[in-house]
Symmetry: C2
């Protein structure tokens, strides 16, 4: 087995473990008496992160680990796992089956492996540097063909954004300009929307205030499907960056979009 195959096998096992933890908490009632640290999403998030960490660190004990719920572990070498057990907390809380488990592997701070996993539908996107992204749905029951759409005209573009409230003050008017330049904007989606962009269903996603665990897994998935993912200046996403993220299906459309966002 190659190194890359071992990383992938382990990441998929970690996603499986996370899904097994998360599923029983999905759509469980929240009562007014519950403390917020006992809510189903909090418990699912923490327990799933522990499950993911256990699988990954058993196999690759020297790799670093960066996640939302627990302190980061420094890497002894060049590799770091970056994980988000439940991306789309609001989606999970409101019972929407598009929240995702995200698992990425960074080599020298560059994402080289990314998994987007939806534990309810079973949909799973796998991105590996230098390889075509794969989309898997159990039993082939949910359609989807990998490959971004080469939308050549911004005015014809399908735009998607998780929330109009995610932008910083200086970003909001820039987002609004982009929204006014596209054909349509649809709302909600979290990481799942990036999976749909990789399937050619969405052309552009401008988002902001994202943490590394929100975007790291998306990079190999988008790039391996033919798209591009950068910050709002067109630069590679950076662990120490501000968290503004721009994904486009057609990389040739990137300069025009960056112009609008400037």
């Amino acid at each position: 087995m190659t190194e890359a195959a071992a990383w992938l096998e382990t990441a998929l096992a970690a996603a499986d473990a996370a899904g097994a933890v998360i599923r029983p908490y999905f759509r469980q009632p929240v009562t007014a008496e519950m403390k917020s640290d006992e809510s189903p999403v909090t418990k699912a998030d923490r327990e799933a992160e522990l499950a993911i960490r256990a699988v990954l660190s058993a196999r690759f004990p020297s790799f670093g680990m960066l996640g939302e719920e627990f302190p980061a572990a420094e890497a002894a070498g060049r590799f770091t796992w970056v994980i988000d057990p439940i991306d789309g907390t609001r989606a999970f809380i409101t019972g929407r089956p598009h929240f995702c488990t995200l698992i990425a592997l960074l080599e020298d701070d560059v994402p080289i492996l990314g998994i987007i996993d939806q534990p309810i539908s079973g949909e799973r996107w796998i991105g590996q540097r230098g390889e075509k992204t794969r989309f898997i749905a159990p039993g082939g029951k949910i359609a989807g063909q990998v490959g971004t759409r080469l939308c050549a005209d911004l005015a014809a573009a399908e735009c998607s954004c998780t929330s109009p409230d995610m932008f910083l003050a200086d970003q909001k008017p820039r987002f609004e300009r982009l929204k006014a330049s596209v054909r349509r904007t649809s709302w909600g989606g979290d990481a799942y929307a990036y999976g749909l962009l990789a399937l050619g269903m969405i052309d552009v996603i401008p988002e902001a205030t994202m943490k590394p665990w929100d975007w790291a897994a998306l990079v190999p998935v988008i790039e391996g499907a033919g798209g591009a993912i950068t910050d709002w200046q067109g630069r590679a996403l950076d662990i120490g960056g501000r968290g503004d993220v721009l994904a486009v299906g057609n990389p040739a459309l990137l300069p025009a979009i960056l112009d609008v966002l400037r």
Copy 2:
């Protein structure tokens, strides 16, 4: 078989027929060369509406028929079907499996039967006047228990809204006031979000500019789950109304919300 059972059986058969038409179009590529009247969503919408109409009118030829795609048929008596083959056009276009088929039966303009059907996940909500709403997921694979949440405090409420762009000029500031009064707002969802409210996952949905086929099926589902659904004045929804819709899980919270929306 009672009359109500015959209506339900026929409505479910129509939803089945619509799903069979719609599924092959889901996540099919759209090319730039396609005319808009050839797009997968347009074809799916029109063909599914024809399939629904065929099933309903074969069994109940004297009933009226109101849908988005084809001219209305006048009722010979007191009953009218109100149908939307694909509620959530943007969701369908962008490959999100939460668009829904909606089928309602009106008696003297009052919805007495409502079906919310998601043809990809197979989730289905059934509301009948005077009966508890039912939620069905194939093989019980997707969790969900019918019953709205009795959230007693607006500040703790989960709010959901399909799009910040759906409001008329006078409604936008009123919506913003409500949004500022709740705990959290999540975006997207279309009719599916009303299904989630019926499962106790969402507490309030304020929407606007909805057509009768967008809301008629929601009424029996919400009411049969313990919630309330009115316009922004607290009045019963009306076929000739303006299309502002307010659904709440806890009817006791309605006066406070109407106050904020005034």
